[in-house]
Amino acid sequence: MSTQALKFVPASEFKERAALAVADEHLRRSFRGAMDFLIGKRAAQFPDLAAFERQRALAEHIRKYSLARLPDLLELLERRLTENGVQVHWAENGEQANRIIIDIARSHSTRLMVKGKSMVSEEIELNHAMAEAGMEALESDMGEYIVQLDGEKPSHIIMPAIHKTKQEISRLFAEKVPGAGYTESVDELIGIGRAVLREKFMIAEIGLSGVNFAVAETGTLCLVENEGNGRMCTTVPAVHIAVTGIEKVVEKLEHVPPLFGLLTRSATGQAITTYFNMISGPRKPGEKDGPREMHLVLVDNGRTQAYSDEQMRATLQCIRCGACMNHCPVYTRIGGHAYGTTYPGPIGEIISPHMMGLAATHVLPTASSLCGACGEVCPVRIPIPDLLIRLRGEAQHDARPGHAPLLGQGAAKSGLVDAIWSGWAALYTRPALYRAFGWLATRFRVLTPPLQSGWTVSRTPLKPAKRTLHEQMAARKT
C-alpha cells in the first residue's frame, strides 16, 4: 500500500516524501509500468525522427510567436469572445479566480457544479473554495472522479489516477458509491461511473472546463478529450465557465492543427482524441441546447513573472502533454504526489516556482539528474534542463543587476555555501596560496574526516592523493 500522505503537502518536504515513495514497491511498479506503456505508445507515433523535428520546430515557432504577441492576442480574444456572447474575466491569482467563479455560481443559486478536466482549477484549489462556499464541485473525468472520491489529488496531469490499481478502485467504488457492488471488471467500473455522473450532468446548474487552446481571431475555446465528460460539462448545464492560464492563446485557427497533433501523440500516443470540442459561444436564438450563459476566466497566477524574463518565458510554451514526466527517471521512481504541487515532474519543477515562489519550491528544480530526456521529448522544445539550472541558481543568490527579483529569490542561500565558494575562489586565484594548500592537503591526508556530510551517504569518502598533481607530473618528467 501507498505510504504517502495523499493530500497536497508542502513542496518543501519533497525530500522526505521522495524517500518514502522510493521505498514503496507497489507505487514504483504502478508508475514504472504505466510510464513504460506511455513511452512506447508515444514512440510508435513518431517513427521518423526528422519529420518529428520539423513538426516540433513549427510547434515551437507557433508558441514563441503567440507568446511574443501575448498581450495583443489576449485583448483580441477578449474582444471576439465578447462579440460571441461570452463574458471574459481576469484574475491575478487563485483567490481572485475562485471569487469570480463562486460569484457566478451564487448568482445562479448553484448547488452542484460538474467539472471537466482542468489543471488550472486544481492549481487555484477551486474544489476547496467551492466547498467552503457551501457548493459541491464534482469531478467528472473518470480518473479525476476516482481520486476525488478517495479524497486525493491527481498524480499525473493526463492520467490522474495512474497510481491506483484496479483492485483499489474496485474497493473504493464498492465502499463509496451507493448501490455499487464489488467488481474488478474495468468495463463494469466505468459503467458505474458513467451511470452516477450522467445523473449529475442532468441536475448540475453549472459546468466548468479548462481550455487546451484559445483561438484569438475567432474567439474559440478548444478542448481535447476522449471521454465526452468535457462535452457534457460544456453543453448540458445552463451555465458554462471555462478557466485557463493566460498563456494558452494562439492567434489563428490554422495554428491549432500542428499543436493538437503533437499534443495527443506526445501525451498518450494517440493520433487524435475521440473529441475535439471547439466552442465559440453560448446557445444562439433558435438553438435547442448548449449553455445559455458562458464565461471565460483568464488566470495569471505567476505566469507574468515567467513571462518577464526572456529565458524563463519558454516555460509558458507548454501545452500540458505530460511527456516530460512520462520520460523523467525521477518522476517514474517517486510518482506525482511526492512533489506536493499541482504540476509534478519536470514541467512542474520549472512552473511551480513562479506560481508558489522559490521559498516553498526551491528544492524541486534539484529533483533532476539533468539527463535531458524531458527537453528531448518536449513537443514545443522547452529547454527544461537549462531552466532547471537557472532556477537552482536563482534560489542560491540575489537577483542579478537589471533583473527583478523572483518570488522567493535567493531562498536557498546559505552562508556556509557562500563562504566555501569564496574560499575556493581565493585559493584558485592565488598561485602561492594554492600550492601551499595542495602541500598541506596531501601531507595531512590522514586527517581527512571519514564522514563528509551528504557525500558519504551513498559514496566512499573523498581523500586527497599522496602527492599533488603538479608534483606527480614533475616526477614523471624526470
Binding site: K252, T274, T304
Partner: protein, 221 residues
C-alpha cells in the same frame, strides 16, 4: 487598476527582444503534401475506414438511395427502439419505415430526462471527414443540436465520401472554417472511451458506446 490592467501592464513591460515572424503553417502542410503523391479518392476512403476501425468505429458503405433502408436494418439488428434525428430527415426516415423516430424539436430543458434515459440512438449529418486520423467533422446547429452526437448510446453519422480530406488543416482550409465557425464545432473519432483505470481501454465512458458511420459512396467506389 483592475486585474486585467495589471496583467496586461506586466506583459507589456516585459523585454520583447526580436519578435518572431508569423509561422508558415500552410507552407508546412504544402511541403508535407509535396513529399508524397497526391492521395486519390479511393485511398482517402480506405485510410478513413482503416483509422475509424482502429478507434472502434463501424463504417458501413451505403449509396445515396439505399442509406435509409440500410439504417433501418442496422437499427433492427442493434435493437434500437428510438432514433433521434434532425427534422430534415423526417420524411426519408419515415418512408424507410424506421420505428421509434424522434425529432429533436424542443429545447433540451423540456425533455432532458427522456433524452438521457429513453433514447437509444441518434442520426446526424457531418460536414466531412479526415482520412489521416479517421475523424468526423460534426457541426451542430438548430436542427441537429449539440447533444445528439453525445447522449444516445449509439450514434449513426452520415458521411459523404466526396467530403473526405487528407488532414485537419486541409479540411479547415478547404471549408474556410475561420470565417464561419458555429457556436460549437466538433471532431469525433470513434465512440467515447477512457483508459483511466490502470491504462485499460474501455468504451462508452460518458458518450456513445457505439459510433456507426454511414459512408455515402458512388458506383465508382
Amino acid at each position: 487598476m483592475s486585474a486585467r490592467d495589471h496583467i496586461l501592464q506586466r506583459l507589456r513591460a516585459a523585454p520583447q527582444g526580436q519578435p518572431p515572424l508569423p509561422p508558415d503553417v500552410p507552407g508546412f502542410y504544402a511541403a508535407l503534401g509535396a513529399a508524397l503523391p497526391a492521395s486519390t479518392r479511393a485511398e482517402r476512403i480506405d485510410l478513413f475506414c482503416d483509422r475509424m476501425a482502429f478507434w472502434h468505429g463501424e463504417v458501413v458503405r451505403v449509396s445515396r438511395e439505399s442509406w435509409p433502408n440500410e439504417l433501418r436494418r442496422l437499427c433492427a439488428a442493434k435493437g434500437v427502439r428510438s432514433l433521434l434525428h434532425g427534422e430534415q430527415y423526417s420524411e426519408v426516415l419515415t418512408a424507410a419505415g424506421i420505428a421509434g423516430l424522434k425529432p429533436y424539436d424542443r429545447p433540451i430543458e423540456e425533455w432532458k430526462s427522456e433524452l438521457f434515459e429513453n433514447t437509444d440512438a441518434s442520426l446526424t449529418s457531418t460536414r466531412g471527414g479526415i482520412a489521416e486520423t479517421g475523424t468526423l467533422i460534426v457541426w451542430p446547429d438548430a436542427s441537429e443540436p449539440r447533444l445528439m452526437s453525445l447522449v444516445p448510446p449509439i450514434h449513426f453519422a452520415l458521411l459523404d465520401a466526396d467530403q473526405l480530406y487528407d488532414n485537419l488543416f486541409a479540411a479547415m482550409s478547404a471549408q474556410s472554417w475561420s470565417g464561419n465557425l458555429p457556436s460549437n464545432a466538433l471532431l469525433v473519432s470513434g465512440p467515447s472511451k477512457t483508459a483511466d483505470i490502470q491504462v485499460t481501454l474501455a468504451y462508452g465512458a460518458h458518450g456513445p458506446k457505439e459510433l456507426v458511420v454511414l459512408l455515402l459512396v458512388d458506383e465508382r467506389d
